[in-house]
Each structure stands twice: as C-alpha cells, then as structure tokens.
Point group: C2
Chain length 156, copies 2
DNA sequence: GCCATCTGTAACAAGATAGGTTACGTGTAT
DNA sequence: ATACACGTAACCTATCTTGTTACAGATGGC
C-alpha cells in the first residue's frame, strides 16, 4: 500500500503559505509539492470546507490562509482531509462468525485502538505553528526550492 | 488500500491448530480462512522459517505447531510475516530537501514512532495463548465453521 | 464585451500492494 | 507407481492514492 501523504503535504503547504506567500495559486503550490494542480485543489478542498483556507476564483485568485497557524492543529487537518485510515494492518473481515477470529480481532483492535488514541491525541496537541517554529530553528533564510525563490505576487 | 490481514489470519490459524487440529493441510486451512491454499502456504512460510510451525510434505503431510501458544507472542508473528508497514499515512518523500517539509515530517515521525512503539510493545506482551483463552471464555464448544466440524485426519 | 487567469470537478490512467489463481516441480507414504 | 501435500513462480484482480486531461464556471483587466 502506498502511504497516504496528504496530511504531510497539507501541513507543508500551510506553512509555506504563512511564511512565503500570502496567496498562492494551485499551480504554484503543485510545483512546490512536486505534483499536479488538480491534486492540490482536490486535497485542499477539504481544508477550505472546514474554514482553514480560502480560495478565490478568476484572475488574481488563488489560496490563502483563513486563520493563524496557531489556531490549526494536526488533528484539524487530518479530519479536513477526510480522516483516512491510519493503519495498514487489521482484521480480514469486519464481523466474523468464528469465535476464534472474534477473539483475535478483539485483541488486535485493543492494541490498534490504543495506538490510534495516542496518535490522535498527539495530533490534537500539536499546532501547525509549532512545526513552523521548528522550521525556523533549522536554518533561517532557507527557501524550499526555485519555485519559491522569487518574491511572488506583488502585495502592494 | 486494503488492510493487510496476514497477522490476524495467522493468529486465527495458530489457535485452530492448537485447539482442533494437531495437523492441518493448506487446503483445510484455506477453507477455514476463506482463501486459497497457495496464500496459506505463502504466508505460513515465514512462520515455518522462524520455527513456530512445521510443515511436512507428501501423503499425510500438512502443518503443525512447533511450540506451545504460550511461547509465541503477537510480535513474533508480526515479525515472521515480514514486519509489514503498520501505518497507512506518512511523508511523501523520504529525504526532502525543503526544510519546511523536513520539519513537518520530523513532527509526524515523532507521533508515528510513539504509536508504533506502543503497538509493538503491546504485541510483545500478548501471547497467542492469551487470545486462545479469550476464545474459551466466549463460548465453549463452538466450532469455527463446517470445514472444522468433522473430526479431521485420524490421529491413530 | 472579450479574453486571460484561476478554481471546481468529473473522468480516466498510472503505480503500488495484498490477495487470489493457475501451473508445475518436489518430496513422501501407501 | 500413484495419490497426496508442500514450494514456488507467474500472472491476474481489487483497491486506493496519485497523476492527468478536459471542460465548465467565476473574476478582473483591456
């Protein structure tokens, strides 16, 4: 199974939007992520729906943050992209008739639920602003790549 | 992605082998799991390699436990099937150049590693025998399905 | 009004992986 | 010798994320 990278990508984008661009087009973002503008629009649609970003159509349009990064947690974004499955392992069938299988799945579910709780609790406790602060500590002044080197659209 | 059910299936089989059959063929096991004999052999090959089960070829052959269920943990079986990926989410690339992406992935990895540690520690602490005991509590005398109703190969 | 520039979305292709199937080789007991 | 059962390669299928193409709708500048 290919691992779902939407959460990682969206966090990446949000920080760039806050630090480098106040408004960016899907095309600009897609080049930064190494993907396609349609993928960007598709994934960010969930973030727009939950009110974390805004999008403007037409000439001069694009994406912008709708609230501060300190007001957005990893859990918020995880939910905004549709709460995709966290685990790659699990039981084979949902409601097995076999009592042995039920016992096995119950035990596995216990463990998985505990891990899921820990993970989501962690997601809830971390804001995107904290990750941005980590970035600042890594190397001030560094730019992501060439697509972000130029100053971007004039802010007037 | 379809969730990997090999761990669940192998635990299921081990308990049946201990409780109902002392030796079972791949074909019998496959009917019990609702799958194919080749899938059974493919998956159980790892368990044989690690010494948890034995297989005998030829007439009267099949699979049997190589040690007691109290000597096998969930972690043992997880490793025996090749330690498949636990999580369905993760970063998009392994070694990103972008420092923002590095900061994002580091934070996500922190959370994922914590959840993985918890999960594997849980796997390590649970023996297959404990799951079998849970099964006993559910409903004594229950059989998994018709394929296991008849007495099985004569034990002499 | 007209046109370039954006987003929104549907539809479809690509790539990866677990699982299912067929085929055939090998070992073993009768 | 033969039937039985594992070992394994090869190939297909299903599913899901991602990538791509195509086109409709909205917006601002001329």
């Amino acid at each position: 199974m290919r691992r779902d990278s939407r959460l990682s990508r969206m966090l990446h984008v949000l920080i760039h939007m806050d630090r480098h661009y106040k408004r960016a087009t899907s095309d600009t973002i897609s080049k930064m992520l190494g993907t396609n503008a349609v993928v960007v629009r598709r994934t960010m649609a969930g973030l727009r729906q939950q009110g974390y970003v805004r999008s403007e159509q037409g000439h001069g349009g694009g994406w912008e943050l709708a609230r501060g990064l300190d007001k957005i947690t990893l859990l918020d974004i995880y939910r905004a992209i549709g709460e995709p499955p966290l685990f790659a392992i699990g039981p084979s069938v949902d409601q097995p008739d076999c009592l042995v299988e039920q016992a096995v799945d119950a035990k596995l579910d216990d463990a998985l639920r505990a891990a899921e709780t820990l993970l989501l609790e962690r997601f809830r406790s971390v804001t995107v602003a904290e990750i941005a602060a980590d970035f600042d500590r890594r190397l001030p002044g560094h730019q992501c790549n060439a697509h972000w080197e130029h100053p971007g659209p004039p802010e007037i």
